[in-house]
Amino acid sequence: MPSPALAQDLRALLGPQGFLEAHPQRLSYESDALGLVAQVPEWVLLPSDTQQAAECMRLLAREGVCVVPRGAGTGLSGGATPVAGGVSVVTTRMRKILDIDPVNRLARVQAGVVNVELSRAAARHGLFYAPDPSSQMACTLGGNVAENSGGPHGFKYGQTSRHVRGLVWVDARGEIIDQSDARLDPVGLDVLGLWIGSEGMLGLVTEVVLDLLPSPEVSESMLAIFGSLQAACEAVTELIASGLQPSAIEILDKLTIDAVEASVFAAGYPKDAEAVMLMDLDGSPAEVRELGEQLETILKAHGSRELRRATDPEQRRRLWAGRKGAYGAMGRLAPDLYVADVVAPRTRLAEIVALSTAICAELGLPCANVFHAGDGNLHPNISYDRRDADQVRRVLLAGQRIMAACVERGGTLTGEHGVGLEKRDAMCMVFRDEDLAVQERVRQALDPGRRMNPGKMLPVRGCREMRTRSPYLPGMKEYDA
């Protein structure tokens, strides 16, 4: 338990707006968007810049207090769930876009800048920031770095790691590490590569330097309507095999369409469709035209009964708002939603989607599918009520089984939501103890006290041990006796 003297120093440093100690204020930080796990932090700190963040961390280091970094709290894997006796350090008061350099197409932002704000600011220079997680209206760029976030357009443009050119972070001791000069990016050890996706275990990111891309000459959205989810998945497999490159390929199934169409984000998806496929095409007018024709041929061959095309920005915005609001719209079905985040080989999309639905059905759970079909990142969505303990048990089991099925068929645990608390033990499905030990050693080197976001991502017990104790856990890696 941190001491009153420490509280006094932090209060003096951050002021009443930046140092929260009242119970209701702390309670509001007890979970991120994974409501299943909760822990009220001792205090919540909201520094306003790198210097203040470093000063906070130095003070916390004095008493060895554990730190959980947090952005907007939109994470779905419990990566920002506080730890008992620890504090949450939140970046939402660091929301300045520090610089946009249109010539070199670089942006320097504070970690708490909301993803969509950067795109808005960049648009004034004819540029855009490519990674666009569905929560982009709310999620922070610092959080995107920590989770290596993707989004629909990750299919063409890649995930956050492809766009980060520099970072400033504060480590557990309160040292500022400035790796933000974009010229240094290719020189020396790839520290940024190590950092991106480290889920807050290596420090607190305070500034990010990001690549901006020139806005495409023409952008068009295409909505293909299918009478079967299976057919839509098969169409994706074929159009990827044909080497076609729309910038995004998303699929929403019937349950999802119903929820979206009942919400403020109603996009005009037909309610009698079993699935819709939403695509973005961008490039030069000739490229977009040609790609459109090629897509049309394949989609029709796979039984798409109708194709809608939109070039008007307002129409496109509406089509996409439906997709991006899909997660929240599920709130209409039940109080809570579990979102799996598995990645499937794109040749086996249809098989794994059907399998997830079957796994849920067997456990008596509803399963809605909405996913980034282009990069095989599936999001089986399971609606439930966390007040029902048996439902929670079945939901977690379903999640585990879906992951195991995916891994068994050549896929993996997570595409973009991170491991956090929720998938921590499932790391043993894809890594052996020996592999995980390397990750643990890297972490130890950068945070010897293991005070940064402890208990997340890396299993706290050996995989061998877990397998021995819980042989019923599906999918755990086999070990020789």
């Binding site: 209701p24 909201l46 709310a138 984000f265 997660y327």
Partner: protein, 415 residues
């Protein structure tokens, strides 16, 4: 008379904690604090309902700071009725003894008595003209200039339609509106007459109770609704009940919801709710707009371009966004520009600008920048609170622009 407690906030469960609402929230924008965001506030309401969080002064403050602008509702994919949750929460807080500041309670007590308000405003106007107001409290100093008494005359009980007559409407007079912006109500009356409606302003002139409901004074609000329901049943229903104030309109259009604890009254209030409509939405109805359009003449050149700023309780509370713009665009030769963030709150938010003048000023500051950048010569609004707030902003501006209610602009165009 005390109504039974409303069912205990079951709708907090609608929130799935996706967080899409957070960046749209004015108090979050100012603080960056989760408990000052819609998701955070719903989380605390749910925690309280699960008996994990007792009511305390901090909880009360986090709830009290909310502007109830309801912008979060416009972006909530799960459809959480945030405004309704907040009203229930505040009512619970008031009942537990966490009451508004005495000055706010005093203000609330005045607005629902038309006579008291009229005398009070007269007194304030006199104090303003004599300079005495400088020695009065901050609340009095924050009030806008009170117009001369000739402009504060109540509306006539009845005004006949120009022919051809097509029907009868009631005009909601409001509380602050007749005292500060009587000209707006008279403009609306003229417009309604010209498009063919008899306009009735039935007695007694009742307050709608919106401000009371927002402040957690549910009993007062429900009593006022009873009065309204009785009035409607006594006088007989018109074709529509037209409001020039977005706040009153939004409140009256949702009566069955706020009366959930009193099913009998809720049922009777439904008829009333169904009739209430904002003046802009009413005039923009196709048949009305067709009659109005030929009557409109070009506006003075100096008024243009116009910028319309959406009152929160019109766009977020009643989903009225297109109609005011359609009406303005129907004026011959009009030039209208869009504000960057027309759906962001100006900081007025009912009594908020009086209870939290500092936060309200900060909130307005970015709107003033948007207005400046839009190049508009006139700011058009459709709600008395927003009207006051924008005028306050113009008082300190280096290039002040006139602020006009949509009805004033349209009536001016009638020639």
């Amino acid at each position: 008379m005390s109504a039974p407690r409303p069912p205990h906030l079951p709708t907090t469960l609608d929130c799935i904690t996706c967080g899409l609402c957070i960046p749209t929230c004015p108090t979050w924008q100012q603080t960056g604090r989760e408990s000052q965001s819609p998701r955070g506030r719903v989380h605390l309401m749910r925690a309280h309902q699960e008996q994990r969080l007792p009511l305390d002064a901090v909880y009360a403050q986090e709830m009290e700071d909310c502007l109830v602008c309801r912008r979060c509702e416009s972006v909530c994919p799960a459809g959480v009725s945030f405004g309704a949750l907040m009203e229930t929460t505040r009512e619970e807080l008031v009942q537990a003894g966490y009451r508004a500041k005495p000055s706010m309670r005093w203000l609330l007590a005045q607005v629902r008595h038309r006579k008291r308000l009229h005398w009070g405003m007269g007194l304030l106007g006199w104090a303003q003209r004599s300079g005495l107001v400088r020695h009065m409290g901050t609340l009095a100093q924050a009030m806008p200039a009170v117009p001369p008494s000739s402009e504060r005359e109540p509306l006539p009980d009845f005004a006949g339609a120009h022919s051809p007559r097509v029907g009868e409407v009631w005009l909601l007079e409001g509380c602050v509106m007749p005292e500060l912006y009587g000209r707006v109500n008279r403009a609306a009356m003229r417009l309604l007459q010209r498009v063919g409606y008899d306009v009735r302003v039935p007695k007694p002139r009742l307050c709608c109770g919106a401000l009371h409901a927002h402040a957690g004074e549910g009993d007062v609000a429900r009593n006022l609704v009873r009065g309204w329901v009785q009035l409607l049943e006594d006088v007989g229903a018109p074709d529509a009940i037209v409001s020039t104030s977005a706040g009153c309109g939004a409140h009256l259009a949702e009566l069955p919801r706020i009366l959930a604890s009193d099913p009998d009254l809720a049922r009777r209030a439904e008829a009333l709710s169904n009739l209430v409509i904002d003046a802009s939405a009413f005039l923009a109805r196709r048949e009305n707009l067709e009659r109005l359009r030929p009557l409109l003449n070009p506006l003075p050149e100096a008024w243009l371009p116009l910028a319309y700023d959406d009152p929160c309780h019109l766009c977020h509370g009643q989903q009225v966004r297109v109609q005011p713009r359609e009406l303005l665009d129907a004026i011959p030769g009009v030039h209208r520009v869009e504000l960057l963030e027309a759906e962001a709150c100006c900081g007025s938010a009912g009594l908020h600008s009086f209870a939290h003048p500092e936060a309200a000023r900060t909130q307005l500051a970015s709107k003033l920048v948007d207005l400046e950048q839009s190049g508009a010569a006139t700011l058009v609004t459709a709600n008395p609170g927003c009207h006051m707030q924008w005028e306050t902003g113009q008082r300190t501006s280096t290039a002040p622009r006139p602020v006009r209610h949509l009805m004033e602009v349209l009536a001016a165009s009638l020639g």
